[in-house]
């Protein structure tokens, strides 16, 4: 009995210790976060203004704003989404609804997407440079940058959409089939609507990833900081602008800080919308019975 009591005590201590360690870790993470955000906000808030958002950069970015850079970023993003969305969602629908996980084709597609998801962005940059810029002759352009990004986004879009479709209860498929409904109707009328919040959340996630990307764009979309006139012009994305200002422009730290704040604000907004959607989706699943 005394043995048991002392063990019990030891367990209480262990429990306390674990709690302390876990809370400490959480505190460290919070502190790091506060430090980073504090630094960034302190460095850039004073420089933010409406003019900064719409003006062209001057003097290598030390002066002026980021207007053309925002436009280029948006164009790159649009190109990437237009290419990746149909492909990604079609693949997800196929994987989730039509091919079984252990069929050869399904396995091949899934495996290659899994590999694709792990490919470092700089390798996408190399590929984009060799394939889109040089082999297909698009040069340094928003188009080749956007298409390179599309390759990067594909796995994210597929996996989120596939997960969303798989989360739709099997009972919907079974009962639809038992009612003699075709697979296409089932997919478009029941499954995709049921998975819509997941599709949207994945889309936003992809947008966030695309906006943040730097390495894949260095050698594909180039870094001309002027207002793009067409998709075949080179355009500098916001992330590359930050990179350039911080690495190559002495005295560029302040506009870099301000650009970082803009980038983070955009991402924060996207993140929040995505979270709302995911929450709605999860809530939708928790309808009683």
């Amino acid at each position: 009995m005394p043995e048991a009591v002392s063990m019990k005590l030891a367990h209480v201590h262990r429990d306390r210790l674990a709690q302390l360690a876990v809370c400490l870790a959480a505190f460290v993470v919070c502190a790091a976060f506060a430090w980073i955000v504090g630094d960034l906000v302190r460095g850039g808030l004073g420089h933010l203004s409406w003019g900064f958002l719409v003006d062209s950069p001057r003097d290598a970015g030390r002066a002026g704003g980021i207007g053309p850079i925002l436009v280029s970023t948006l164009l790159i993003l649009l190109v990437a989404l237009m290419a990746a969305l149909p492909l990604g969602w079609a693949t997800a629908a196929l994987l989730a609804e039509y091919v079984s996980a252990n069929s050869g084709f399904g396995y091949a597609v899934r495996y290659s997407l899994q590999v694709l998801a792990g490919v470092p962005s700089i390798v996408f940059g190399l590929f984009g440079n060799a394939f889109f810029s040089i082999y297909l002759g698009m040069g340094f352009s928003i188009l080749s940058g956007g298409l390179t990004l599309a390759c990067m986004l594909l796995p994210i879009l597929v996996s989120t959409a596939e997960a969303g479709l798989r989360a739709v209860p099997d009972s919907y498929r079974l009962s639809a089939a038992a009612l003699g409904m075709s697979r296409a109707t089932t997919l478009f009328r029941l499954l995709l609507p049921a998975a819509a919040p997941a599709l949207a959340a994945g889309l936003l996630l992809g947008i966030g990833r695309a906006i943040a990307e730097t390495a894949a764009l260095l050698f594909t979309s180039g870094y001309v900081d002027r207002m793009p006139g067409s998709l075949l012009d080179s355009g500098r994305s916001l992330a590359i602008h930050i990179f350039d200002l911080s690495m190559n422009v002495s005295g560029g730290d302040t506009p870099a800080h301000a650009s970082v704040l803009v980038l983070i604000a955009v991402l924060l907004f996207i993140n929040m919308v995505a979270m709302r959607l995911t929450a709605r989706w999860q809530h939708g699943k928790m309808v009683p019975e």
Binding site: A18, A239, I242
Partner: protein, 278 residues
């Protein structure tokens, strides 16, 4: 109608699947000149990386990549798992929600921002400690910040997937919180957590911009945490802009190496997952 849609979907998926092959193909084609001129062994035995003098030793960059990624994993894995436990089991619901949101935010911050912050804050700080500041340590810290959210979020997802019945069952048996976590939750969630760590390892190995900005990029085996290093990915970003001929091909070889490393990693992850099912 059904047939047509199936065919369309197959077409889409086919393109998606061929993409990996296309990437591998282009990497291989572009690396070919180097692989043909330069015996494979020389990528590890040349005296240094100095393409101007026809020397192509990738070994210091391999070591730099592994040190940086390994170090970051060593720091980020405990912190990340602890964060996940904090959200799942320790924090009150409101705090947990806020903390999770914070982690998601950290996950969304672009690598170039971490690099920028490292460059303007971390490097000068380390420089005071031990010049030059731009060092392996800075790289590890910045990478830690970047992969910690990945680990925390995947671990949290894995913990969430632990059926509530297990936890209820454990609580009903009078088990303490830590006993429940160690005895039931962590073993059940382990495959998910390991997969998350693998994912994070892949990211750490392939991360370019942030590392490029803070590690000094000197091609040399690091002897201490304060030595500068160059990673494979940073090497590409740094030199790709103006590399030509064999030099360019050698950079594609480093890209290919990166890609193979990541594929091996995902292979190991897949193998672990399968073994568990068996």
């Amino acid at each position: 109608m059904d047939k047509l849609i199936l065919r369309l979907l197959c077409g889409g998926a086919g393109i998606a699947a061929t993409l990996v092959l296309l990437i591998l193909l282009f990497l291989a084609v572009e690396s070919w000149p180097a692989l043909r001129h330069i015996p494979a062994g020389r990528f590890l035995t040349d005296p240094s990386w100095s393409p101007g003098e026809n020397m192509y030793n990738l070994a210091p960059m391999l070591s730099g990549t592994l040190y940086a990624a390994g170090g970051a994993l060593l720091v980020a894995a405990p912190l990340g798992i602890a964060s996940a436990l904090f959200v799942a089991y320790y924090a009150p619901p409101r705090v947990a929600g806020i903390y999770r949101r914070l982690i998601e935010l950290l996950a969304g911050i672009p690598s170039v921002v971490y690099g920028f912050w490292g460059l303007t804050t971390l490097v000068p700080l380390i420089n005071q400690l031990h010049p030059p500041g731009a060092s392996l340590l800075a790289g590890i810290l910045v990478l830690t910040l970047m992969i910690l959210p990945t680990i925390a979020l995947t671990a949290h997802a894995a913990l969430l997937a632990v059926p509530a019945e297990y936890l209820r069952g454990a609580a009903a048996l009078g088990m303490s919180r830590w006993g429940m976590i160690r005895g039931v939750a962590l073993p059940t969630a382990r495959p998910g957590i390991v997969a998350g760590i693998m994912l994070a390892a892949g990211r750490a190995i392939g991360e370019t911009m942030a590392v490029l900005m803070v590690t000094g990029n000197v091609v040399r085996h690091a002897d201490s945490l304060f030595d500068p290093v160059r990673t494979l990915a940073a090497n590409i970003a740094l030199e790709m802009a103006y590399a030509m001929n064999d030099h360019r091909a050698a950079l594609f070889v480093s890209g290919l190496t990166l890609m193979l490393m990541v594929m091996a990693l995902s292979g190991v992850a897949g193998w672990l997952a399968r073994n568990r099912h068996a």
